[in-house]
């Protein structure tokens, strides 16, 4: 029997692929109608700045979700790397003064936690949401233990330049995020690992038949994601000038919202890091808009929650009648 449709509603059909961009533009237009302050240069910079760290975190999260897994450890990794980097530069607790050398060290720690996620997930054969949940909690725990509940204050100005400094009027954090996006994009499009991600996320059996090393790829991707989270932690520490475990609170939620709203499918195999960048901007613009409209800040999470539900429900793939747990 000849099957019917060409590109069936199975995947993001043409109009659906552009939906996130359309949503973003619509939001921008709506908000600027409400409050002219939205369209100022100052606000624009504010938006970019708010988006910087979430974008970096989303790069890692997107890879993992493309693979069909989930990473609930983001907050734990960010907390730990923020604390570690804070203790390695000039601060009020520890004697280290590694300046910018602290950055690769902290990022590497992030990578190692990611690898831990991957190894536990693969070797113990436990679902990623469980292993990352456990490792994430452990990460926050380690971060808090190291500091014994206090906060460490950073006084290294070179380090803080990474977030607060400006080049061509644009904050360094934004430049760093841009580089992160570029790197992530290259990994996604031009490395075998990136292409294999999509294969594994779409149809693991076919990927295995083609000779793709599934286990190794999974572990490496978790590790790479950890590197991005580590970078996010470094930027967070640089931004706030302090390190403590709470620096990561709420970031998991924002990251997942952004990835989902940006159009990357939770089932894997569909989406891209660029989608997630758009998703971050949707979340950030919405938050900015709510503030400009005078809405209480605690409403943010509620709105994000509804956004996730709406985004996933709309991307609903009705032809996949798999059992959803």
């Amino acid at each position: 029997m000849k099957p019917v449709s060409v590109s069936n509603g199975n995947l993001l059909g043409h109009w659906r692929r552009w939906a996130p961009v359309v949503v973003l533009l619509a939001l921008c237009i709506l908000i600027s109608l409400f409050n002219g302050n939205f369209l100022t240069f100052g606000n624009f910079i504010r938006l970019l700045n708010s988006a910087a760290i979430p974008i970096v975190l989303c790069m890692g999260a997107t890879f993992i979700i493309l693979m069909g897994s989930i990473d609930l450890s983001i907050e734990g990794v960010v907390a730990l790397t923020a604390v570690i980097v804070s203790l390695l530069v000039i601060n009020d607790i520890s004697p280290y003064a590694l300046s910018l050398w602290a950055v690769p060290i902290a990022v590497a720690v992030g990578g190692m936690m990611g690898l831990l996620n991957g190894v536990l997930h693969i070797k113990l054969k436990t679902p990623s949401f469980m292993t990352t949940l456990g490792v994430g909690f452990a990460g926050v725990g380690v971060a808090t233990t190291i500091l014994g509940g206090t906060t460490v204050r950073i006084s290294d100005q070179t380090f803080r330049f990474l977030s607060l400094g400006r080049v061509l009027e644009i904050p360094m954090a934004v430049w760093i995020a841009a580089v992160a996006v570029a790197v992530a994009y290259v990994i996604q499009e031009r490395t075998r690992l990136g292409r294999w991600l999509y294969a594994i996320g779409t149809d693991e059996m076919t990927a295995r038949h083609a000779g793709i090393p599934i286990e190794r790829t999974r572990i490496l991707i978790f590790g790479i994601a950890g590197l991005f989270y580590g970078l996010g932690g470094v930027l967070a520490a640089a931004q706030f000038g302090q390190g403590h475990a709470l620096i990561s609170q709420g970031r998991l939620f924002t990251t997942i919202t952004a990835v989902v709203v940006g159009g990357t499918a939770l089932s894997g195999g569909v989406g891209s890091v660029i989608n997630s960048v758009i998703g971050v901007f949707i979340v950030v613009v919405l938050a900015n808009g709510l503030v400009l409209m005078g809405v209480e800040p605690y409403v943010q999470q509620g709105v994000q929650g509804l956004l996730i539900i709406a985004a996933v429900a709309l991307a609903l793939d009705r032809s996949r009648l798999d059992v959803v747990k």
Partner: protein, 316 residues
């Protein structure tokens, strides 16, 4: 290991572990072995157990509910905010809030086909906002006289036993009866064991799932009310740090996240284990923060042991 070995392990190991742990802690500090101490430890465990009892049903069905901590906090806010005006009615109102949150989570994971961990994560965001709204982002105090009038059933004492234990025991019995004696309970087990066969037998699986999530939210609401009574206040972050232990006690008690196997009393044993481990670690000078790390790894280990890998072809 074979299925029979695994079942036996899952049934007896948690109890053995609990007994061993109690012995170890008791050796460290013999005062642990007193009756009054056991009662107070058990009473302290009850809030965790109440929260985890509803989630047990969801996990047995093969899903998960990550919103319980936020729901409990929200329930505490509702209670504290309305106790003055509504008196006893504030209690069912708070619990109803929990039920509604659970219902929305259930709806999202069935009708909208969103995986339950995302759906409940999303709901938790909405619930946190709601909790903040009810309490105006502050911690709301429950004055002593209000507490004495309306909340004594939760924190007082009867027959020498703290009321938390009576409340917990009551729900233990009720939930176990629901799980073991009602068609709903059987369907929950069936859906977790082999959902497609249950669908093919003409059951409205969506309806059962929504009911389970609603029950989970309800129990989280109850837990929030009891917590608020004990702490004398309601706040949007009251139940923070409870999510991980709640899931841990379910899994450590022997319920597999692959679904189909488990019971409420297992969760109770698991909750006791978690509590005793916490006490033990405190005795040994392990900081509260470091305890998180331990629980994180216990969680992963327990899941790895209890999972039925024959059921999951591709582990994502």
């Amino acid at each position: 290991m074979t299925q029979e070995q695994r079942t036996r392990l899952q049934t007896w190991l948690p109890l053995i572990v609990l007994a061993v742990l109690i012995l170890i802690v008791g050796i460290y500090d013999p005062r642990f072995f007193s009756a009054s101490n056991f009662l107070s430890v058990t009473a302290d465990t009850m809030t965790l157990f109440l929260m985890a009892s509803g989630v047990t049903l969801v996990i047995m069905m093969g899903g998960i509910d990550l919103s319980v901590q936020a729901v409990a906090s929200m329930a505490s806010c509702i209670l504290a905010a309305y106790l003055q005006q509504l008196g006893f009615l504030a209690i069912p109102l708070a619990v109803l809030g929990g039920a509604l949150a659970g219902f929305i989570g259930g709806l999202a994971s069935t009708k909208f086909r969103i995986p339950s961990f995302i759906a409940t994560l999303a709901v938790s965001g909405v619930v946190i906002s709601a909790g903040n709204w009810f309490s105006q982002t502050r911690s709301v105090n429950i004055p002593g006289d209000l507490s004495a009038t309306y909340l004594d059933w939760a924190i007082g004492e009867a027959l020498g036993v703290p009321n938390e234990i009576w409340v917990g025991a009551a729900f233990l019995v009720i939930m176990s009866a629901v799980l073991g004696l009602t068609p709903f309970g059987r369907l929950v087990r069936g859906i977790g064991a082999q959902e497609r066969a249950v669908i093919a037998s003409g059951i409205n699986v969506d309806r059962t799932k929504i009911a389970a999530f609603t029950l989970s939210g309800t129990m989280a609401g109850v837990a929030g009310v009891v917590m608020a009574a004990r702490l004398g206040s309601g706040s949007p972050t009251l139940a923070n740090e409870f999510l991980l232990p709640a899931i841990a006690c379910i899994v450590v008690g022997g319920t597999a996240i692959t679904g189909g196997v488990g019971s409420i009393w297992r969760t109770f044993v698991g909750a006791l284990i978690v509590q005793v481990v916490r006490i033990g670690m405190t005795f040994m000078g392990v900081s509260v923060f470091a305890q998180q790390i331990v629980f994180g790894f216990i969680l992963v280990a327990a899941v790895a042991v209890t999972m039925d890998r024959a059921k999951v072809l591709v582990i994502k």
